[in-house]
């Protein structure tokens, strides 16, 4: 009979973190340096990792363990934004860093990796658990999974997990094809598709806000909600990634994954429990309820855009087509907006306006839920202030928080109303540091909690919504550029909302 660890105190102890080795493919890449290694170091700093924890970095660059440790030390020092560097913590953490050089297409790499993992198991007693993190080009995901399988690393004495970064395919067929390849080696329950938006504190707080409080849920439906606006704006351009970006575009890069996941979180039904399967089932159900549009609806309910040159803050900013590596005739969308409808009893008829773009006036990601007006206006409204709508705004970045806008009497004689804002700011209400999205998600994957990870059926549901739009956009020649850098996108996007008497907020 197997014995359970009796020394538990869930009220006071952090979540139980099993021993494991994390194998990072693409260990010399930007994501590893900027996000993964600083997040892992922070977890070590917070004593969240087990004593035998180890990392094996893999990339083509030839180097030894010590050189890899040196490189990672530089990354941690440079990119750990709010973590004090502690020499002792680093030394203990670095002792568990190893490196294997090799080409992903080379069978020998996987054999050497297997040997290295066996050695690490002997010296560090990592419990036989291995998490493979694919931080490489998406085109290499299938090859890596199959390589691991062929070398017998898909199974072992402990658990095996595979973490993959977006994009999960470039359309429905390729997403299915990728899943099929991964499933040749790993079960779906062991595949963790990472969407770092879901790891953000405020996105998780949406669940707490909606399902931990009794007062909001009764309002959370078509009877009280007029419409929802989801905005993910970036002020920067493609920043030297023009060649990559022109293959992806805003719709596939942001809406298909991050924003539809955010929309699913804001609109999903309450789950029966906070178990990963229950939460993901509800999120998936919502994604499947989004109406897939026909071509004529797509033309009315979606707007692509591409930024043109402009002068911002006294500086000339190039248009997308003038960016290095970009085709001067490019039809890529650097802006995408769409009106989605959810076909269920809760949301029927409520428009969900989603927009994202590069070179917009500011970097901001937020969800605004606009409620219906009071049924009767009894107050004087000479300047329109008394008819300002009630808004609930969930800010995801840069300052995570929640604001409620409502009307209040202006002090003084007479009954004049003006909108006021009640703010909850995550960073300042709790002065404590929030963990980064990657810290949350990496720890969740090590623990085996997939609540914040995307499942195959969610990926397919998202593509089912997005692919028809992609097809129409590809088959239509747009008169790009259609918005100047530094503005809130094309005029057609304003017209899209105007059809229903709505206007985009200016966050």
């Amino acid at each position: 009979m197997s014995i359970q660890n009796p020394f538990q105190d869930p009220l006071r102890f952090e979540r139980r973190v099993p021993e494991c080795v994390v194998v990072i493919f693409g260990a010399n890449g930007d994501l590893t340096k900027r996000k993964l290694m600083p997040a892992l170091y922070r977890l070590a700093y917070d004593r969240r990792l087990s004593a035998g924890f180890a990392v094996v970095g893999i990339s083509r660059t030839a180097m030894g363990d010590d050189q890899f440790r040196e490189k990672m030390l530089e990354s941690v020092k440079q990119f750990s934004e709010d973590t004090k560097f502690d020499e002792d913590v680093w030394d203990a953490f670095a002792a568990g860093l190893f490196y294997v050089a090799g080409d992903i297409g080379d069978k020998d790499l996987y054999e050497r990796l297997a040997k290295r993992l066996a050695e690490i198991e002997t010296t560090r007693r990592a419990g036989g658990n291995v998490m493979f993190y694919l931080s490489t080009q998406p085109s290499q995901y299938a090859a890596i999974a199959l390589g691991l399988g062929a070398a017998g690393m898909g199974k072992g004495s402990g658990w095996r997990r595979l973490v993959v970064e977006k994009p999960f395919g470039h359309d429905l067929a390729s997403a299915r094809e990728l899943s099929d390849r991964l499933h040749e080696v790993f079960n779906e329950s062991d595949v963790y598709r990472i969407d770092h938006y879901l790891g953000k504190e405020t996105v998780q707080n949406i669940l707490a806000f909606r399902f931990g409080n009794g007062i909001f849920e009764p309002l959370w439906n078509r009877r009280y909600v007029n419409h929802v606006q989801i905005t993910a704006a970036e002020s920067i351009g493609v920043e030297g990634r023009g060649a990559y970006y022109q293959e992806a575009g805003a719709l596939a890069d942001m809406i298909q994954n991050h924003l539809l996941q955010v929309m699913a979180t804001i609109a999903m039904e309450p789950s029966a429990s906070f178990r990963a399967t229950s939460v993901r089932d509800e999120r998936s159900k919502l994604l499947r309820s989004i109406r897939s549009m026909k071509p004529d609806e797509i033309l009315k309910n979606t707007v692509p855009g591409q930024y043109g040159p402009a002068r911002i803050g006294g500086q000339e900013v190039p248009g997308f087509r003038q960016e290095p590596g970009v085709n001067p005739e490019s039809q890529t969308d650097t802006y995408a907006s769409a009106t989605f409808f959810v076909e269920n009893w809760r949301w029927a008829g409520v428009p969900f306006y989603v927009r994202t773009g590069k070179r917009l006036p500011k970097r901001v990601t937020e969800i605004a839920i606009q409620f219906n007006q009071a049924p009767l206006r009894i107050f004087e409204d000479s300047d329109g202030a008394a008819s300002a709508p009630n808004l609930l705004i969930v800010r995801i970045q840069p300052e995570e928080g929640i604001s409620l806008k409502f009307l209040s009497k202006t002090p003084g004689a007479g009954m004049k109303l003006r909108p006021v804002s009640m703010d909850f700011n995550y960073g300042s209400s709790f002065g404590e540091r929030s963990p980064s999205a990657y810290e949350t998600l990496l720890l969740d994957a090590i623990i085996g909690d997939a609540t914040l990870y995307t499942r195959q059926d969610m990926v397919e549901a998202s593509w089912t919504v997005v692919e028809p739009i992609q097809t129409v956009w590809r088959n239509t020649k747009y008169n790009f550029p259609n918005y100047a850098a530094g503005t809130w996108g094309p005029a057609a996007a304003d017209d899209m909302l105007a059809q229903r008497g709505h206007v985009w907020r200016k966050p």
Partner: protein
């Protein structure tokens, strides 16, 4: 010294304070102040307590546990006397334009006026939020007015380590624990990282397989750590007993030894945890590793206690067992 304190006057002073803070914000072009509050923290401290250090601890706690803090300084004496002072604790979070402020009220109370304290504190407590009582002095536990004060609280936090006689401390804690409040003991809080490391150790299946072989638990303690040692020993033996592993407990004093040493012994298994300055050294069958273990400050201990405002079954059970051990065994 005035003999009475008017809660209404204090509340008015607090309201004025917020207006003035708001006006300061307007003047310097910043975004004003944000009032934050998640509880009322009532602190009972001796007059001789280092108030500067206490103030720093409360300020450090505020970012995670914003509270209206009411600090009561006990000035001894038989004359009924209460005085007050109101001020705020504000800080500007890094990279933000708006400062966060919490209220602080300071009261001076003679021993004789302790009975009057609830009538002042109750109106000052923030409505609908829990009141946490932090007793920085063990003396108050035996004062007649204590139970009237503790009855206002959702949770009472005490440091039983301050009581010179460990057995008396545990029995006193058990009595407080039987009243209708949640109880926290900093002697128990000091053990969290130790307990967590022991637990983490047995997450490893290899070590876990040796667990049934454990037959003896030895805890040795230095001066002032007897309650902590007893708690640790009881918690380990209770946990082992839950999985059918009976182990004999031996808690002994080692005046020249480290503050705490924990050993689990059995056939072919020896686990040892011992503090060496700021490190915890864990040894399993001769194989050692160290982990960072900073000295537990009041801030770290209270930060943990304030985050637990609900029943703590593991502590409650340990305290009950420790109290049962402290009583003479019935024939």
């Amino acid at each position: 010294m005035s003999a009475t304190v008017a809660p209404d006057k204090i509340l008015k002073e607090l309201a004025d304070l917020w207006v003035s803070l708001g006006k300061q914000g307007e003047g310097d072009g910043s975004a004003g102040v944000l009032r934050a509050c998640s509880m009322t923290l009532l602190v009972l401290a001796e007059e001789a307590d280092d108030l500067m250090s206490l103030g720093e601890t409360i300020a450090a706690l505020m970012p995670e546990h914003p509270a209206r803090a009411i600090v009561v300084r006990l000035i001894g004496g038989n004359e009924r006397a209460l005085t007050e002072r109101v001020y705020s604790q504000c800080w500007m979070p890094f990279g933000q334009r708006r400062q966060i402020c919490c209220e602080q009220i300071e009261l001076m109370a003679s021993d004789a006026s302790l009975e009057d304290l609830p009538s002042v504190v109750l109106p000052l407590a923030v409505p609908d939020l829990p009141l946490i009582l932090w007793c920085r002095t063990a003396r108050i536990l035996s004062m007649p007015g204590f139970y009237r004060i503790s009855a206002m609280a959702r949770k009472v936090v005490v440091d039983s380590g301050q009581v010179p006689d460990a057995v008396a401390a545990i029995l006193r804690m058990a009595v407080v624990g039987q009243s209708n409040v949640l109880l926290g003991d900093l002697s128990w809080t000091r053990l969290t990282r130790w307990r967590e490391m022991l637990s983490q150790l047995f997450e490893n299946p290899d070590y876990l397989s040796h667990l049934p072989k454990i037959s003896e638990v030895r805890v040795t303690f230095g001066p002032g750590h007897e309650v902590t040692a007893r708690y640790m020993g009881i918690w380990i033996t209770n946990s082992l007993s839950d999985v059918g592993v009976p182990a004999h407990l031996n808690v002994t004093s080692a005046p020249d030894g480290p503050s705490l040493r924990v050993e689990l012994d059995g056939d072919q298994v020896h686990v040892e945890l011992v503090r060496e300055e700021d490190r915890l050294v864990i040894t399993v069958n001769g194989l050692s590793h160290c982990t960072n273990l900073p000295q537990p400050t009041d801030y770290l201990l209270m930060r943990e206690e304030l985050s637990i405002v609900r029943p703590d079954p593991v502590f409650d059970r340990t305290l009950a067992s420790a109290a049962a051990h402290a009583y003479p065994t019935e024939p």
